[in-house]
Amino acid sequence: MLAITGGEIVERGHRRRADIAVIDGRIEGVHEPGRLLSGSPDDPDPPRPQEQAAAARAGDGMLTPIEEIDATGCVIAAGFVDLCARVAEPLALEGHVMQITATAAAMGGYSALVAQPDTDPPLDRLGQLAEIRRLAASAASCHIVTAATVTAGRAGTQLAPMAELADAGVSWFTDTGPLADWGLLCRALQYASPLGATVAVRPSGAALGIVAPMHEGAVSARMGVAGEPAEAECAAAAAAISAARRTGGRLHLDRISAAGSVELVRAAKADGLDVSASVTAEHLLFVDADAAGFDTLMRAEPPYRTAADREALVAGVNDRTIDAVVSAHTPLPPHDKDLPFDEAPPGFASLETCAAVVLGHPEISLEAALDALSWRPAELAGAGHLGGGPIEPDQPANLVVIDLDRTWTLADRGSVSKARNTPHRSRRLNAMVRATVTGGRLAVVDGAPCDHAGTVAALRSGIAR
């Protein structure tokens, strides 16, 4: 049995102080504080009702709490769900990539992530799906949900066997980027509609033939770097929304970055379209001027835009126009960011920091953050049993314990991923994931990964404050 005591459970619309017992991968019970275990040092001689209670429920004798997490002062929420992460790890042996990614995700509070299909080769058929799922099963720290490509080989010309893949359980289709052919996007949305699947596209200037390393504006003009105008992203977003309007399909706009895109999504939702949108945590922090020193860590996809865009994205998360914050985790080999600014690949390794950035963001409310990290993405991905679900008895135990008062840096704590392409290495983060429970098992405790193969004795003492 695993006990999480002393914390405050936060769910959509309500909060309560309660202790949680987890048995066999499920939430066994949610109890009055102090009723489950006598963890409080302030109360040296309490009754020990947990033994009677457990014995009473189990019927056949006492249950021993073999793991206890003291969550005093922390928030307990449903495990986070990431709609966009790349399962990759530089320098890792192939067999270890899944484990390292899953452990990194658990460190960030995720109990589920949607693996992007832009692998090499792209995940566009059943055979690969089985292989990836086999590997994913060995990574217990985080559920890995597989997405598949919209078009065969991500070539953007011909639909992948979406029905076959949907029968095998795939409900998220994306080419992890723009789909330039509007007619093809319409067909994908039509085709996916009866399958109950979502088609995700990243609205990007690339759909209009504009490829540039940063946002077009005063900063790019000063730096002498080609820019992608915000209007190009908006045009692509408008085209994709038109396709959703035309087909009634379920469209997800992956990683929007411009204020105009937020406005388009807001209008589409007001019109009742089945459109959702996501943003990365970094886009809630950084603007184009942060790249003015040619720091390749400030190259993102889409590019960071202006302060006004950033503010619109934050507002969109707070008013739920933007459904999800994604990590867009893209770990890169160490030397990839040592290239010239316009040649260095964009992206950041972010699974371990994404939730901390959002939860510690001074302009984002706790409920909005949890909506964007947990509840809403779980609904969109149909993954409520893997994360973001209700914290009630008999529900799968996917939980995260968050300390909102703990500041830390990645440099001090160290990271699971060997990738160094993070802008947060020495940036102070204002919230910390203290523990993650994935499928009833402790994946992270006290901000450190658990080794399930070994003993958990070292973890019994709970979280040291």
Binding site: G217, A221, R222, G224, V225, P229, F294, L339, P340, F341
Partner: protein, 344 residues
């Protein structure tokens, strides 16, 4: 000035003025029977040209040699870059050979700034031109050429102090051509505005950044920004110019669809004989070279202006060496500990 020379904006007015004064001294050195001083004896200057540019490389190499520095040449063609070595590996290998300064040229903007972050203490990075971003020594060379042209005849009494160094204050300079893709334009703008000149940028909208006013206002200090105008018509601004700074037209850009056609460009932005006629009689022309005859400037206009000594192109090249001597001297010609024993 400390550390590196990446853009002229970092130098400010004082830093730029100081380098122009220093350049005067090296122009004098260049006129000596033996135009060489031992100022940088024992120092090594590496030229890291990831993008070939014979003119700039020669200017830096000559400057370093006239200061008695050793020169270590690296060019991308002869390098292991093709074998997948990263930019950082390449620089660190060169740095490990023991250098005091590296002149970096790259077709990507920002590479000198990146390399400056990887450089050891005591290794100075000089931007030899990066993408569309900056070309500070070219900007200094252009500014020096004009500064020297416009200053009154030097006081002939030797040893007399030069008070009130004349500057470009109040001069009106047009920069004409492909501004958005020009590192020279960006560095010229920084240099000229720092010296209190007024600038008018003349180009079709497609050869300017998308929001040119916002670009200038966000980039330059407010008092400098308000001295920069933007115009799409050379004819509108021709009458009260002191300088016409022509930029080199890259033919590739011309056919990239950024302008309708070359004749159309020449008709609106070329320095034709008629436009040259309309210029003030003492207005001068600069060009970073090599000139495209019949595009930026009409062929016979070149001859006419050269005959009147109003085409400063050759002087720009001559001063290019002295400017780079000043930069290298300023960056790595100092820094030894002070000591009383070195007096006298």
């Amino acid at each position: 000035m400390s550390g590196h020379l990446l853009t002229l904006g970092e130098l400010g007015t004082d830093g730029i003025s100081e380098l122009l004064s220093l350049t005067d001294r090296f122009v004098e050195v260049g006129r000596r029977p033996i135009p060489k001083v031992p100022a940088l004896r024992g120092r090594t200057v590496a030229t890291l040209f990831f993008e070939e540019s014979t003119r700039t490389r020669l200017a830096f190499e000559t400057a370093a040699k006239r200061l008695s520095a050793d020169v270590l040449n690296f060019s991308a063609a002869s390098s292991s870059l093709a074998k997948g070595e990263s930019l950082r590996d390449t620089f660190e290998t060169v740095q490990a050979m023991g250098i005091h300064a590296a002149v970096v040229r790259h077709r990507s903007a920002g590479v000198p700034a990146q390399i400056a972050r990887w450089a050891d203490d005591g290794v100075a990075i000089v931007n030899g031109g990066d993408g569309w971003h900056a070309h500070p020594t070219q900007g200094l060379q252009d500014a020096y050429t004009l500064w020297r042209h416009f200053r009154p005849a030097p006081d002939s009494e030797p040893g007399a102090e030069l008070d009130d160094q004349p500057t470009l204050a109040g001069r009106r300079i047009a920069i004409v051509g492909d501004i958005v893709h020009s590192r020279v334009a960006r560095s010229d703008i920084e240099a000229y505005t720092a010296l209190d000149a007024s600038i008018v940028l003349v180009a079709p909208p497609t050869l300017l950044p998308a929001q040119p006013r916002e670009w200038i206002d966000c980039w330059l200090p407010p008092d400098a920004a308000k001295r920069v105008e933007i115009s799409h018509s050379l004819d509108d601004v021709l009458d009260d110019l002191d300088v016409v700074g022509l930029l080199r037209c890259q033919r590739e850009r011309m056919i990239d669809g950024l302008i309708g056609s070359v004749p159309e460009y020449v008709a609106r932005y070329g320095l034709t004989a008629e436009r040259a006629q309309r210029l003030a009689p003492d207005a001068v022309i600069t060009h970073p070279g090599p000139m495209n005859r019949g595009i930026e400037i009409a062929g016979d206009t070149i001859e006419d202006l050269a005959a009147e000594d109003r085409l400063l192109v050759t002087r720009q090249v001559t001063y290019g060496v002295a400017v780079r001597m000043a930069v290298l001297f300023r960056l790595i010609g100092s820094g030894t500990a002070l000591g009383a024993d070195d007096r006298g």
